[in-house]
Amino acid sequence: MVWRRRFIAALTFLAGLYFLLEFILPPTVPGSTHRGVFLEQLPTVLALATADGERLEVEVGPGVELSMMVRDPTGKLQAKVQRTREVSVGETLSVRTRTFAFGSFRNGTFLDDKGGAVALRPGERVYSDDSGDRPADPAQLAPGTPLRVEARGARVVGIRWGSLTLLDGPAGEARSRRTVALAPNIAVLREKRKGTPDEIEPYEARVGDLLAVGHTTFLRDQRDTAAQFNSVLGTLALGMGLLSLGMVNGRKLRKRGEDRWVAVAFFVAVVLGVVAGVYKYYDPNTSERSFSDAIVFKLIGPVGSTIFSLLAFYLASASYRAFRIRSAEAGLMMATALIVMLGQTPFGMYLTGWLGEQLKALWLPNIAGWVLRVPNSAVVRGLIFGTMLGGIGTALRYWLNLEKGSAMGGGD
């Protein structure tokens, strides 16, 4: 079935391609990107139709925040901040036009903490952090409370895109002043001395900033969605463990004998686990929640860590049996292990502390530390360099589906 293999190979390639491109491509499309020293900007203006049917024009600048309402996991609507370039005509937004600190409220007008009147345009309302979906109630505000002027649920009916003026040649020549028009998905990046440029809003640019302005490659914008996709896709396999364990134990259940009861115990335990999981989301102090806590802390906790703790015994007997100086190599390994072990415990200090400050370097903790920091560090680094190249090789083979054989190819 060659087409199956090709289909899977193509999907694998595409899935990896996004992440690779996101890493190696710059955030804006090369070639169409303008680079220069920022001089001035013409702000973008949004024309909004507010929920009350008013029309409002908002100049996007410092203090303005555009957010879209999305549902949060509890089902409540929650604001998610949008970049100006991501806004398009027809969308419904909450627009914060400015902020101020509450001073007083007189004659239906808010005054800020410096005594200036806050003039509200039609469609704008004042909200506080605590007021939720309702406008802030001036009677309940303490002076100094931060307040926001917002137009909520406003539909974007028009956008007048602004522009940036950049200097991309010698100063003083008119030719070197270049005006770059903003548009949807035109990103503005501020360059730094080191590292990747940061994306900024056009109004955040300061005179003298080196900017790169160009169309986004969209790769960066989708990073969070990609992370979510990866997370969801991985978690959707959650039933696999349950199913494969269920099948194994189901088989045992059909057989007679001692194993049968072990399988029954397994299924009872699964049900118990599910119940504990469901009850986990009940409020504290309810009996359901304390049942869940008891299962988690009194049963899973002790049993889980006890099973792991058996390893200490195995380790003791195994190291007794195995760590014999059969060869010089094993001897070297053992000597190092002993030094590190003694250095880790207070006995290391007792054994060598009498050497005094003068011979501090010979204290066992310091010798152990030296072994770990110098030779061991170099050994580990040698190993991780190997692992890195191995990782690159493996990633390439998987990504390009070069791996043959029964394991990856699906047997065809």
Binding site: M333, T387, R397, G405
Partner: protein, 259 residues
């Protein structure tokens, strides 16, 4: 580092290019050389010893599934062990903690014995799924060693803390043990309790040497060139650092890679 700069891009192209180039030349059938790994000759010795004593061989392919490269390397090694066993007429037991891996190990055994002309050995061999829990599988495997009077034991693949349980069990049972993993935390335990240990990258080199499978082979050789390149990069860096002293901005070489 959010986006690759040109230096990183260059390194990426060099490393990936070397690997792809060598894979391509391996696929074209160019004879690529890999030096023999000391632990390898021991495989034949172990199989032979087992044939003398009359017990089966036990192979455990690590704790990971086939998305782990180490498991893929282990597949190659199992193929080789099967071919050697076909010569001496040994049967093979494979244990695993992964239900997904059972059909894959079965396929490998069937195909390898068939290729070596002893298909009847495949039906005598067995793949046992023991338990989904790692440590129960390890303890179960040691039980198998005793019950079946196994005399040679091969542990290849990815291992976690259970490595000790496998190799100590083998030692108690008096098996000749050959282990190989690239999980370096587990290597001390294998070194202490096994007769031969294939360490870290030797595992992949081993698999490539045995199977001559072009992808694995090319990849190992390509990585070798990559390592050589990295080593030279570091040596030049050491020389520059010695000449200029630490943190000297005049040392442009170091500045290139610092971000």
């Amino acid at each position: 580092m959010d986006n690759a700069n040109w230096q990183v891009l260059l390194l990426m192209v060099v490393f990936a290019g070397l690997v792809l180039w060598k894979i391509a030349s391996a696929k074209r059938g160019q004879g690529l050389y890999i030096r023999p790994i000391p632990g390898l000759n021991a495989i034949e010795e172990a199989v032979g010893r087992s044939a003398e004593l009359g017990g089966p061989l036990l192979f455990h392919g690590g704790i990971a599934d086939f998305t782990n490269v180490q498991t893929l390397a282990a597949v190659g090694i199992l193929e080789h062990i099967c071919k050697t066993a076909a010569k001496y007429g040994n049967r093979i037991l494979v244990t695993t903690a992964m239900p997904v891996m059972v059909p894959i190990w079965e396929d490998v055994i069937k195909a390898s014995f068939a290729a070596a002309g002893r298909p009847e050995l495949a039906s005598q061999s067995e793949v046992r799924f023991i338990s989904p829990a790692g440590d129960l599988t390890a303890l179960g495997t040691t039980q198998v060693l005793v019950d079946e009077k196994v005399s040679s034991c091969f542990l290849f693949g990815a291992y976690d803390y259970t490595s000790l349980l496998y190799s100590e069990g083998g030692q108690i049972a008096g098996c000749m043990q050959i282990a190989g993993t690239s999980d370096y935390y587990q290597i001390p335990f294998f070194v202490a309790s096994c007769d031969y240990v294939v360490m870290v990258e030797e595992l992949f080199a081993c698999s490539a040497y045995l199977t001559r499978e072009p992808t694995m082979l090319g990849s190992v050789v390509g990585q070798d060139y990559g390592k050589l390149f990295l080593l030279l990069l570091i040596l030049v860096g050491v020389i520059c650092a010695t000449v200029f002293g630490p943190a000297n901005p005049l040392n442009v070489y170091e500045g290139l890679l610092r971000f």
